[in-house]
Amino acid sequence: MAFAWKQAGVSYNKYLSIAAQAIRKSLKEQARAAAERRSGNELKVSRWENGKQGETKYLGTSEQ
């Protein structure tokens, strides 16, 4: 059973994020609210050229 996910091309990093997500969702109400707030990630990207920030692109959130 161990490493069955590895054969399906899932990395250990991905394994960890799935496990962590499952744990957060299994918590009791109060703790879950605090944990879910933490779990989300947002990503914004912008390119700097000649010392000036270019256009900012919003790549979305990882909230599941």
Binding site: A2, I18, A19, A22, I23, K28
Partner: protein
Amino acid sequence: MEQLMSIDLIRCRDIKLRWDVILDEAGGRVAKTAVLAPSVPPAKISELQTADVNPPHPTTDHIPDLDQKSNFLPAISSLQSPTMQSLRLLRTAALRAKPMSSAIRAPVRRGYAEAVASDKIKLSLTLPHQAIYKATDVVQVNIPAESGVMGVLANHVPSIEQLKAGVVDIIEEGGASKQFFVSGGFAVVQPNSRLSINAVEAYTLDEFSLDAVKSQLVEANKIASGSGSEQDIAEAKIEVEVLETLQAALKA
């Protein structure tokens, strides 16, 4: 005719320790002697045996230099000889130079501070957002490594273990035990009785809701046995595995 054969030479600074084995005609070993001298030419047995205590060469002058004697003394004692007398004389002569020190009986040097802290392990259980334990002295930690559950006590062999989702069991000083369900991560056992566990999430068992686990398990099982992509199924199977472990831990 007796025949003299030198079988080994151990160099210890400028002093040579030579083992002489006396063989009889049939090749059987009748006697073995050791000579401590800068250089002793092959000689008759009587000379060799007296050479140990009253050598023709000034060997005793060199003995105080033998602060490395622990290197060769075990070599002497490990050899079996029919006539151990000359060895004993040699040993006495060597030891007389410097009284029997603890270095001979226990080659590993131990300081007082080490001896006191030796039965505790310093545990650090850290998450990206919180340090649950910070170099705290505990007695034992059981970790769910990929290779199986392992218990870590003080002076454990240094190792790095990849963890899977499971219960980390911490036995604190005084015998109280604490259980955390961790998502997986890495446990690093360092040489100086330090254990660092890095995990993404870790919660005590009373913070989980069994109902939430059960409802998630139903959902994950549906996806795992469904007709989704291979990636989806693999991820759902991980979820099932994690939740089943969690469920078992909560019921226990």
